[in-house]
Symmetry: C2
């Protein structure tokens, strides 16, 4: 390598810090200078842990922080907090940087640029959406802000807008804190990444913990009180009083900075990269929630904001930046969540996604138990599989159950990764003992049922 290079990383969370760490492991400070620009007050934290901090399951925000800035500095990574990148100048190979507190601007040069600018939360463009008391849940600062409000202002009624993973996890956190909680979602079911039949099970569970669930109700606006703070949410013709509003409307790739510089983005609005996490622009890399990746079942580009992807992509970018070779093949769309005692998981394509991707699919739902039926602690769980007609190729799976149900999704995810058919899956040698599974694991029961359906379907229309 000719001379000392400078790696500039924009964004100091999962993707950015993983890239920086991996690059540093392979190239010492004498060979590679690494500077990370992070606009927030924290770096390298678990954004997925925010609902647990808000709900008080996790005591201290510090616990969510994997490594402190000092630890990174000790490893020769110059992590600068409260430092925002405002412009990328590709021609000049430099980034304009603003001190968030002081406002001073400078230009930072780079030899290699890593973009890890994360996701941007969707905010409804509605009157009152920016009022006090309306909170997004995106960065750790948001979580700290919400918890401070909960502890100091003792709000009684919360409305959560959006019934996806974050919305439900935040609703649970508010219930834990003793608030009356309503969820408003424009869809007919919570967790729209599930099929409606499985989503209905989640809806039952959410109502079961006392949440007032308004489905099919689009938010029309936010009413404010005399103090200018939010007082109610208008949705579906109703007015839901609220001392606190949580926005959980999902996110989009935070690719604006890259796009403004002329770096290619794709149909999802995420930055386009190759499997080594290189953008289409020389010397510019990207990873995490700001990029789009390949869905290995549909073959389509997708943007899925999830810490586990960001970490993996960042690691791959860092290995390559460090002179090694690594690739990130894509995702199969796995997600798990827990709402009180109910565990939910999904992977691959749901029925709607399978149809959209051009698959002729069939599906089965089986009810089983998490342990041998006679073993204490056995609880019912439902497993849904979606398979391609004729070939029997597994296309997706969904699980709703209780303790020890959801992580079985990993088996389905690995089966998808390897393009297994449901018929092949019936032979899988999964772990069996009464405290862990019935003699036919729920995954196997579902695979059997799906394989039988594929066979019957072929007989009916050969």
């Amino acid at each position: 390598m000719a001379g000392r290079e400078r790696l500039l990383v924009i964004g100091g969370d999962a993707a950015g810090m993983s890239a920086a760490s991996q690059a540093r492991r392979r190239r010492g400070p004498g060979d590679l200078d690494i500077t990370v620009l992070e606009r927030g007050h924290f770096a390298s934290y678990s954004a997925c842990g925010i609902p647990y901090y808000v709900g008080g399951v996790v005591d201290d925000a510090e616990e969510l922080i994997a490594r402190t800035p000092a630890e990174f500095r000790d490893r020769g990574i110059d992590l600068r907090l409260c430092t925002e990148a405002t412009e990328i100048d590709l021609g000049g190979a430099r980034v304009r940087v603003r001190d968030v507190d002081g406002g001073a601007e400078t230009w930072e040069p780079y030899d290699q640029l890593m973009i890890a600018t994360g996701a941007v939360p969707t905010r409804p463009e509605l009157p009152g959406a920016d009022a006090g008391g309306v909170h997004g849940v995106q960065v750790l600062d948001d979580g700290i802000g919400i918890r401070r409000v909960l502890e100091r202002e003792k709000p009684r009624r919360a409305v959560v807008v959006g019934g996806g993973y974050i919305g439900l996890e935040m609703a649970e956190a508010m219930v834990t804190r003793g608030l009356d909680v309503a969820i408003v979602d424009g869809a007919e079911q919570p967790m729209s990444t599930l099929d409606p039949d499985m989503g209905a099970l989640v809806a039952d569970a959410v109502r079961g913990i006392g949440v007032d669930l308004h489905l099919g109700d689009r938010v029309e606006g936010f009413e404010t009180g005399p103090d200018g703070r939010v007082a109610a949410v208008r949705a579906g013709g109703r007015t839901l009083p609220a001392d606190l509003v949580i926005l959980g409307l999902g996110v989009r790739p935070g690719s604006d900075l890259a796009r403004a510089a002329g770096i290619e983005t794709g149909p999802t609005s995420g930055i386009v990269t190759d499997r080594r996490m290189r953008t289409r622009t020389e010397r510019v890399w990207a990873a995490g929630d700001c990029v789009e990746t390949r869905h290995l079942v549909s073959g389509l580009p997708v943007a899925i904001a999830l810490g586990t992807h960001a970490n993996k992509q960042g690691r791959v970018a860092g290995i390559n930046l460090g002179g090694g070779y690594a690739t990130y093949p894509g995702v199969v769309g796995t997600a798990v969540s827990k709402i009180c005692h109910v565990e939910v998981a999904r992977t691959g394509l749901n029925e709607r996604e399978a149809a959209a991707a051009g698959f002729d699919a069939l599906s089965v739902v089986v009810e089983s138990t998490t342990r041998a039926g006679y073993h204490p602690g056995a609880t019912p769980m439902k497993t849904k599989l979606i398979a391609e007609r004729r070939s029997g190729r597994l296309l997706g799976g969904q699980i709703v159950g209780e303790e020890n149900a959801a992580k079985r999704i990993d088996g389905l995810a690995i089966a998808l990764w390897n393009r297994m058919t449901v018929e092949e899956m019936t032979g899988l040698d999964l772990g069996y003992a009464p405290p862990f599974s019935p003699v036919w694991d729920p995954v196997l029961v579902a695979a059997r049922k799906a394989a039988e359906l594929v066979e019957e379907d072929m007989r009916r229309s050969p």
Copy 2:
């Protein structure tokens, strides 16, 4: 099919009843007569549940029975209990049958014969091994007998001979019942299907629940008291007092009946079948603990007595007997177990097995947690992976941890099934949320570490 056929099934547990049920689903009573001969008092029960019945975790032996004889009869399956097959006459296509209680003998003809004679427990050929108070744990009758002794005779001291899965599960059951328990095993570690380093963790856990663990001590004999019942176990020069002895020395395929008839058995002494579960003899099928199967990683024949394999093999045989088409490809050697709070799992080849199968292997052990470190209930777990040098192909995995640790073995089993490399595995899209996993699932952490080791190893010796 010309005329009505008769399927005769020898053995009415997992493999036999699965075969009978599947055959019946596809061929009605007018087409296929199905008779099952079972020498015990019970059919279709969970042998794996016996330790939980003995320990009182399961109240009633009936709970272990999946289907009653009456239920089978209602489905047109003539299940005959206490009926022992004593000879197979291949030339005459008939089986000699003895009424276990009455002693009367008859010959039963067959068109198709299904052998599902299970496993035979290893009994030490030592003085006193047949004394009263020395119990095997093979069939439900054994479990019922042991529990009766525990409840009526209130023994104080139990010695378990053999530290495999059954031995440990029975030891836990005895501890639960308040007995002083010792385990004697000739090996240097319990659970010899684990590598010594992982087995040592299990040994610690077993000692932790108060079991007196004697490793490397071969049993030399059993001492009896004046009443002729067992009074002590002699092992490694010591004398361990015992009111009750449990034999958990493993099993071998119960293939004697088949072998005597001239049906081919293999190097494991299990009956040889093809992938459709047909023996090398016309019209004779076999499934379950009495057969040998293929280990999909080593390629070698193995005999693994486990209800989940028996059920799958029986199902495959039954589909084929019913006129359908199904195959059983083999196993990857997955097993899970729980000893009090400690969960143990293994799949594939351990270090010794990998070497014996001709693989040049390396291994890694990583320590991780079952949930995000900051999430309550996160407990430490150790994951070991064994991979082939250079290719990086996964060869096996072992897990020792607490709640929610062991079933992660399924992911490794499916990776093995699909011949994944540890490098490929680093990209796997596994379910992540703080209550379920750290952002890098333990399986991924182990895969990363193994992939790094494979890479370093290649650099050192290119």
